[in-house]
Amino acid sequence: MKVEGKRRIWKDYQKEIADDRYFYVRSCVRQNFFPASEKMFFRILKEELGKDIFENAAHTTCSGIGYHSDVVPFETTMTMVARQFALMTESGYQNFTTSCITSFGLYTEILETWHHFPEVEARVRENLKKATGREFDKPSNLSHASDVIYKFRKEIGEKARYRLVNKQTGQPLRCVEHIGCHYSRMFPGKGVGGAEYPYVLAGMIEEWGGEVIDYPERRHCCGFGFRQYLIQANRGYSLSCSKKKFDSMAPYKPDLILTNCPGCPMFLDRWQYTLSEMEGTTYGENGQGIPVLTYEELAGLVLGYDPWDLGLQVHQVPAEPLLDKMGIPYDSNRKFLNRDGQSMGRPKAPSFLKFY
C-alpha cells in the first residue's frame, strides 16, 4: 500500500466547506440512536470553535428514508427539501449543514437535478408556494456535519487531551473508517476525498494520531438498504452485509470503527450483537466486539469529554476497551445514571458479547 497514491487522489477531491454560520438540520436516525452526537456537534462548534450554528425549530425530516424506501414520491421529497431551504433563507443563512448522510446525498442529488432540469426546480418552487406559501434561495454551500468537523480537525487536534494512540504500547490505534454510501457515491466531487478513498474520516483519524486501516470490503454498504432493514423479513440482507464487512476487517484487528452516517454506526453496533446471539461469533479481542463511534463521539473523546456525556453507554458494543487503550478515565458506576445521578437500572447482559 502506497499512501502517497491516496494523498494524490485526496488532493484532487478537496471540496469547499463553509467556515462559519451553519444552518443545521437534524437526522431522523441519529436523534433516536445517537442524540448525544448531535448535541456534541453543537458544543464543539459553539464552545470549542466559537462558530455560529443555528437550528430552526420548524425544520423537519427531508423524508429521505421514506423516499429511499419508496413510499414518498421524489416530487414530495424535493418539496420537503425546498421547505428546509426556505427555513434557511428565512433564518438568514446560506450554509446548509446536514446531520444525516442520506439527507446530504439527497440534497446534493436534488440540487444537481434542479441544475440540469430547471423546469423541475420551477415546479418545486410552485408546489412549495402552493403548499406553504414559502419561497427559498438555494444554499451557497452544502456540507455534511462530518465535513465541518473535518475542516476543523486541526483545531480540534490542537485542543486534544487524548490521542488515538495506545497508552500502553505507544502504537497508533488501528482505525477502520466507514463512509455512508450516499456521502459521495453518486457525486464523488461532493465528498472530501471522492468516492473511492474518502478522506473526510481518514483526515480526522490521521490528525488525531490514529492509523487508517484499509481492508477489502471497506467500500461495502453496512446493509441498511432502507426497506431491507425496515421490514423484518428483509433484515437478513442487512445483517449479511455487515457480517461481510466484519469478516473482512477482522484479520486487521481494528481498535475501532469510525462512521459518518447515522445508520451505519447503529447497524455496525447492533449487528455485532445480533451475530453473536445468532451464531455465537464475536469480533475483536476476547468477545468485546469492535467499538463503533460517530465522528462527534470521537472528537468528543479526544477533546476530553466524559464518555457518558457522549452517549457511549447506549452503544451495544462496549466502548470501555477503547477508552482503556486511549487512557481515558471513566466511572463505570455513572454509566447508567440519569441526569440527576439516579440509577436507571442496567440493560441485560448479552449472552456472548462482553458487557461492562
Partner: protein
C-alpha cells in the same frame, strides 16, 4: 416504444439513470443485493433498454425490483453513466402507482413501510421516533435499546435531547403548524396520493388473498408482510 416505457421515461431520474448499457457488469460486481438476492442491476438496465412494455410490466410485478438497497454503489462505477439504483426508484414508484407492487411478496411490504415510516413523517415530522421503535418488533436492537426504550424520557434527557418538548433540539415535538405544512406538501405533490394508492391496492389484494387487514399495525396481513418469506428469493441454495 411502449406506453409504460414512456411513462417511466417521463421521470427525470430515468433520464439521468438510463443512457446506454454495454453490459459490462461493473454494477452487479459490487452490488450488495446481487450478493444476497437473485438480483442483477445489469439485468434491470438491460431489460429497460429493450423498451419492451411486456418485459417492463412483468418487471414491475416481480420480486426483483424490491431487492435493491438503494446504496447507489452501482452509480459510482458505471462506465456509461447509467444509474441502476435510480432506475429502481422509478420502477418502484411506477409499481406502486399502478398497483403492481401487490403482485409480489416483497412489493406487498410497502404497506408496512407506509404505515410506519410514512405515517411517522406526518405525525412526528421525522421518519422515526423512539416511542415507535418497539423492542419486540426490533429484537436485533438488543438489551441496551430495550433498556433505553424502557427509560426513554430519562435517557434522552441524560443525553441532552429535548424529547417531546417545544423549541429546537433533539427529538423535540415539531409544532403542529409545521406538521400541517408537511401534510399540505404531501397533498400537493402526490405524497398523499401515493399513500392512498398503497392502502387501496393492498386492501384489494388482502381481500383477494382472504387475509384480514384493518387500519392498525397489528393484523394478519401486516404480520404476514412484515415477517414472511414464503419463497427463497435467492437467500439460500
Amino acid at each position: 416504444m411502449g406506453e409504460l416505457y414512456d411513462r417511466l421515461a417521463g421521470d427525470v431520474r430515468f433520464v439521468e439513470g438510463l443512457k446506454a448499457c454495454l453490459n459490462c457488469g461493473t454494477c452487479t460486481a459490487i452490488c450488495p443485493a446481487a450478493e444476497f438476492y437473485a438480483y442483477q442491476p445489469r439485468q434491470i438496465v438491460d431489460i429497460l433498454q429493450t423498451h419492451d412494455d411486456q418485459a417492463i410490466e412483468s418487471l414491475l410485478k416481480s420480486e426483483t425490483i424490491w431487492y435493491c438497497g438503494e446504496c447507489m454503489s452501482c452509480v459510482t462505477r458505471c462506465p456509461r453513466g447509467n444509474a441502476p439504483g435510480l432506475l429502481i426508484t422509478v420502477l418502484r414508484a411506477a409499481s406502486q402507482d399502478l398497483g403492481y407492487f401487490v403482485e409480489s411478496e416483497k412489493g406487498r411490504q410497502q404497506l408496512a413501510i407506509k404505515r410506519t415510516v410514512g405515517e411517522w413523517i406526518l405525525d412526528y415530522g421525522y421518519c422515526l421516533y423512539p416511542s415507535e421503535i418497539l423492542p419486540e418488533k426490533h429484537p436485533e436492537q438488543g438489551p441496551v435499546w430495550e433498556w433505553e426504550h424502557e427509560h426513554i424520557e430519562e435517557v434522552m434527557e441524560r443525553l441532552g435531547a429535548n424529547y417531546k418538548k417545544t423549541g429546537p433540539g433533539i427529538l423535540r415535538k415539531v409544532p403542529q403548524e409545521d406538521l400541517d405544512e408537511i401534510r399540505k406538501i404531501f397533498d400537493v405533490t402526490g405524497g398523499t396520493a401515493r399513500f392512498n394508492a398503497i392502502e387501496n391496492y393492498s386492501k384489494q389484494k388482502a381481500g383477494e388473498m382472504g387475509i384480514d387487514l384493518d387500519d392498525t399495525l397489528d393484523n394478519d396481513y401486516m404480520k404476514k408482510i412484515y415477517t414472511e418469506n414464503s419463497q427463497n428469493h435467492g437467500r439460500e441454495l
